[in-house]
């Protein structure tokens, strides 16, 4: 039990407490936040070189006025019914070329999903929250259809496939495989959602 010579050791017992204090500080201040939202592509400003003639029946016109009322295909529509209406329009399959659609084949509505275009128009005084809700419902209509096809073909939801594909942690081989699947589904129901320039509120 002889005392050893040399400088006495510093008591490190409180080290843990100090570290804990710091840890708790960082725990509290950390916000591991990943933002999420609706991805959209704006149309380029230059008009396309060739004018494409689109039949009126292939356009699903959605207009929102400044009071947040919705006009879908020239009918006053409740926002809650918009998704169903958009789905019915997209997979209407008027010309019968779409084998996977279960639409009504109404000759007055869209020919096939490839030709169907949804056009969204809003007023300058429309509230942003209403606009987002409408956007959400329209994207939702596409996603519902894509999910259905994806379930049929790959037994997985399209949104899951896509999320995995976009996740940077997914490994490369899997990504290639997913890329093809995602592309395939996207081709079945291409997202053609045009955002027309707004009408000014003076016109109504």
């Amino acid at each position: 039990m002889g005392r050893r010579a040399g400088a006495p050791e510093v008591n490190a017992g409180s080290m843990a407490d100090i570290a804990f204090l710091l840890l708790i500080f960082f725990l509290v201040t950390t916000t591991i936040e990943t933002d999420a939202g609706l991805d959209r592509m704006l149309p380029p400003i230059e008009p396309p070189e060739t004018d494409v003639i689109i039949k009126q029946k292939n356009i699903f016109q959605v207009s929102i006025n400044k009071n947040g009322q919705l006009l879908a295909d020239e009918e006053l529509t409740d926002l809650k019914d918009l998704r169903a209406k958009a789905i019915a329009f997209l997979e209407n399959n008027g010309d019968g070329t779409c084998g996977y659609c279960s639409g009504k084949k109404n000759p007055e509505s869209s020919d096939n999903p490839d030709k169907a275009i949804i056009s969204l128009k809003n007023d300058r005084e429309t509230k942003y929250s209403t606009y987002i809700t409408v956007q959400n419902e329209l994207v939702g209509a596409y996603n519902d259809l894509r999910n259905r096809e994806s379930m049929r073909l790959y037994n997985r939801k399209f949104v899951e496939l896509e999320a995995d594909y976009l996740n940077p942690e997914t490994d490369k081989d899997l990504k290639e495989e997913l890329k093809e699947k995602v592309k395939k589904i996207q081709e079945l129901f291409p997202q053609k959602l045009s955002e027309a320039e707004t009408s000014s509120s003076s016109s109504n």
Binding site: A12, M15, A16, A19, F20, L22, L23, F26, L27, T29, T30, T31, I32, T34, D35, A36, G37, L38, D39, R40, M41, L42, P43, P44, I45, G68, L79, K80, N122, D123, R124, E125, T126, K127, Y128, S129, T130, Y131, I132, T133, Q135, N136, E137, V139, G140, N143, V159, E162, A163, L166, N167, P168, E195, E197, T198
Partner: protein
């Protein structure tokens, strides 16, 4: 035999806590490295709407965030109550908007520029007029990938009020 007897009299040994600081430090470093301090102080009221069909914004390095909303209470006196655009820490008028975004794009490394996404964080109560102007400006400078950043949640809550 006496060996075993001797052992029985010893108390149960305490667990050594000597490595506790190391463990805690490990956790500490983990949190220190993953922490992203907020780089923008919000000058506008920014309550995002809800949406369900959302996609995550991966890869922070290719995202430019703009905030739109009414100026916060502290700034109301100077900037009024009309919705304004905030980029970084400054209010930007719609006429300077294009050049500001272009400058921000040019700050990014060249290989990332084609993939730049503009994240629009717009307050619920803003009207579409300003957003349409923003969209128009973005089209002019060919920054076409946008993301309406939202919270996740029932989208019909947006309407009630």
């Amino acid at each position: 035999m006496s060996k075993f007897k001797f052992k029985k009299t010893i108390n149960t040994p305490e667990v050594s806590t000597a490595s506790l600081p190391d463990i805690v430090f490990m956790l500490l470093f983990f949190f220190m490295t993953v922490t992203v301090m907020k780089d923008d102080t919000l000058k506008v009221i920014n309550e995002l709407p809800n949406a369900t069909e959302i996609k995550k914004l991966e890869k922070k390095d290719r995202i430019i965030t703009i905030y739109v909303g009414k100026p916060g209470l502290r700034y109301e006196k100077f900037f009024g109550t009309q919705p304004k655009i905030q980029i970084d820490d400054k209010f930007v008028s719609i006429s300077d908007f294009g050049t500001t975004i272009l400058a921000k794009i040019n700050e990014k490394p060249e290989h990332l520029r084609p993939f730049i996404t503009v994240s629009l964080k717009v307050d619920k109560t803003a009207s579409m007029g300003l957003i349409d102007d923003v969209k128009q400006e973005l089209r002019k400078i060919h920054a076409l990938k946008i993301n309406y950043t939202t919270y996740e949640g029932d989208t019909f809550i947006n309407l009630g009020k």
